[in-house]
Point group: C2
Chain length 386, copies 2
């Protein structure tokens, strides 16, 4: 099944997408942005749950429209014979099937991996689930914050002694979506070598473990779990938000050279020879003392002043933006990271762009809109000869 | 250049990795975990900066060892003629070059994309940088927390009125690493169709915009930037950490059916017909009131009790784990998400596993250790016939 409009590296690939809400749809959004054709199979009763999750513009979900841009929609009841025949005709033509049901749902529908692999040996089947297809809790349902809580990232986010803090976006879903994308692309590479499709099993909880980064090493080497650290890096100093005259500024001096440059820029040259601050490890032990010393100097001027001074000194730093400031930033605009799309009813909508910039493919500033429920039924049935 | 030990879907691919610390090395860790051969080119003066970032076991960085497992190391001074000749011999045999220098550094070394593409038309060149290769701030350096601050995620993480809060892991680097991995795999697919290599340009700041999720739609549709929300979802209710008798429990009732099941399980059946809570949108407006009602019921029992009751009711929920609890969880163990590896000196080390589980490839519970600096010089030079 071809898509003549696509110009991306995944042009020519057809993804059958049974997924709902976020982890699966985020994966297929990335695939669609890279040129794959995504056919979104939705339940006839209202479609994807995220069509009823805000923010809304009129009766349309801008949330749904952002994540499902550039996809086609076909409403199918997979328990009805006529619709099953359509789904099976699509399976025979698809490269990849994506779903994020609880494990077991597809097998109960008669579409388990074993059957599909036997009938369609080239098909890649990707399942993103809360806990994965194996293990004692495979059967449980999960949503983003459940895996943020169980996976440990909430325990290192927030302030010491403070209340539990969620990462402010659905990092549990998004991470799973990205790893599912990677699994699909790796499986496509294997298929191009061998002709063989395979099953890609990604768990949201596993993704949370994979992004814990040095919190894992800190825990496994000491036996002690790290706590939250507010707004500083756990093992690099100075690497934190420091208060200037008017607002905080993030300064990230990640090595000895940058530490020296920072001290010069702040007029704290005398600290350069202090043996207690000679290495990153020593500076991290003295992180509070260093914050006090830096903030005493930073208090003399506002953030705007220090941005200029520290940039000249080559010290990485940046202001704390709210989302409106972030989206309006000249670099974000220059990188085409806020693209134009539409709601299903045609109302203009701005959404986040695709961060994978490729020299052999355009990065359109306008992306096709998300579909109305069942919008592409006629087109698709015609292609299938049904 | 072949690697007879690999069993993953990327077997047979050779990645030349000039990257340091985290965004690039995280990308090449994922590629190595999936079977690619990664040759890490390090500066002879101490190698990758992350060799001196904690936590340490003796003199070895467990941080470096976790992220660089399964890679080979070759120390090269790219300003010295003899070493440049080795690098150029490797370029002729590599599939992918990965670097995370500031834009311009590779061109000044004589290895800019135009030259490399002309000489090695099949080579894929992936650059992960702070701000990307284009735009007014392309030349600036960035570290993780700088892009967390500028990209807006810190503005939606934390508690209303509270101090700035960093996401507790280096999500700025890790997200860029994942999008770089996706870009490389998409470019490999394009190369398998056309024979043509290309340039993959990923910015850490762009990655932060891409994971803002519905904060973008909320901002662009209302003109108002959202603030931090503590430990609840901005547009789904109930979806938060709620206090039980002994500790908080995350409950995620993402649709009307789960809301009804939750009320039944808590003995709050009377609320099911309350029209003010009839839809998710109405419940989100009444999020504080709903928290009060739920916590009044939850206070009667500890988390362990409610986990059983809510699981039986099919309501997604989970306890708040610290990292030690997360790594010890039976599901995490069953999924092989804590693997065995070693420090460069052979000391055993536990590290996070690979969340991409594939039916056609094993998911080894033991992963080869990270290299000592320049450990593979002899092997590699011999292969090159130098």
């Amino acid at each position: 099944m071809s898509d003549t409009h696509s110009t991306g590296p995944l042009k020519g690939l057809t993804i059958l997408d049974l997924s709902r809400v976020l982890a699966g749809p985020y994966c297929t959004m990335v695939l669609a942005d890279l040129g794959a054709r995504v056919i979104k199979i939705e339940t006839p009763k209202g479609g994807d749950d995220s069509r009823s999750i805000g923010p809304f513009v009129g009766s349309e979900s801008a949330y749904f429209a952002s994540i499902n841009r550039g996809k086609q929609s076909l409403a199918l009841d997979l328990k009805a014979d006529a619709d099953r025949a359509i789904f099976e005709a699509l399976l025979a033509r698809a490269d990849v099937l994506v779903e994020n049901y609880r494990p077991g749902v597809m097998a109960r529908l008669g579409y388990g991996w074993e059957r599909l692999h036997a009938e369609h040996p080239r098909l890649i089947y990707a399942a993103a689930s809360g806990f994965g297809q194996t293990g004692p809790e495979a059967h449980k349902a999960a949503y983003d914050m459940v895996v943020q809580a169980m996976g440990g990232i909430m325990s290192v986010t927030g302030h010491p002694g403070g209340p539990p803090t969620r990462v402010g976006t659905s990092i549990g879903d998004i991470t799973a979506g990205l790893f599912t994308t990677i699994g699909i692309l790796a499986a496509l590479r294997h298929r191009s070598e061998t002709g063989e499709g395979q099953f890609v099993d990604v768990a949201m909880l596993d993704g949370q473990i994979a992004i814990l980064e040095n919190a894992v090493a800190r825990t496994t080497t000491t036996g002690v779990a790290p706590g939250p650290l507010g707004a500083r890096h756990p093992s690099i100093t100075p690497f934190a938000a420091y208060q200037c005259q008017d607002a905080p500024l993030v300064i990230a001096a990640g090595n000895d050279g940058l530490w020296a440059s920072l001290l010069d820029a702040l007029g704290l040259t005398g600290l350069k020879t202090n043996p207690r601050f000679a290495t990153n490890a020593l500076r991290t032990e003295a992180a509070d003392e260093i914050a006090t010393l830096l903030e005493a100097a930073l208090a003399a001027h506002p953030v705007a002043h220090w941005l200029v001074v520290l940039e000249k000194a080559g010290v990485p730093c940046g202001p704390l933006h709210d989302v409106k400031q972030a989206l309006a930033h000249p670099q974000v605009k220059a990188r085409n990271m806020l693209i134009d799309t539409e709601l299903p009813d045609g109302t203009p909508l701005k959404a986040a762009g695709n961060p994978v910039k490729l020299s052999a493919h355009p990065d359109p500033a306008t992306r096709p809109r998300a579909p109305r429920l069942d919008e592409h039924r006629e087109t698709i049935l015609k292609e299938l000869g049904l």
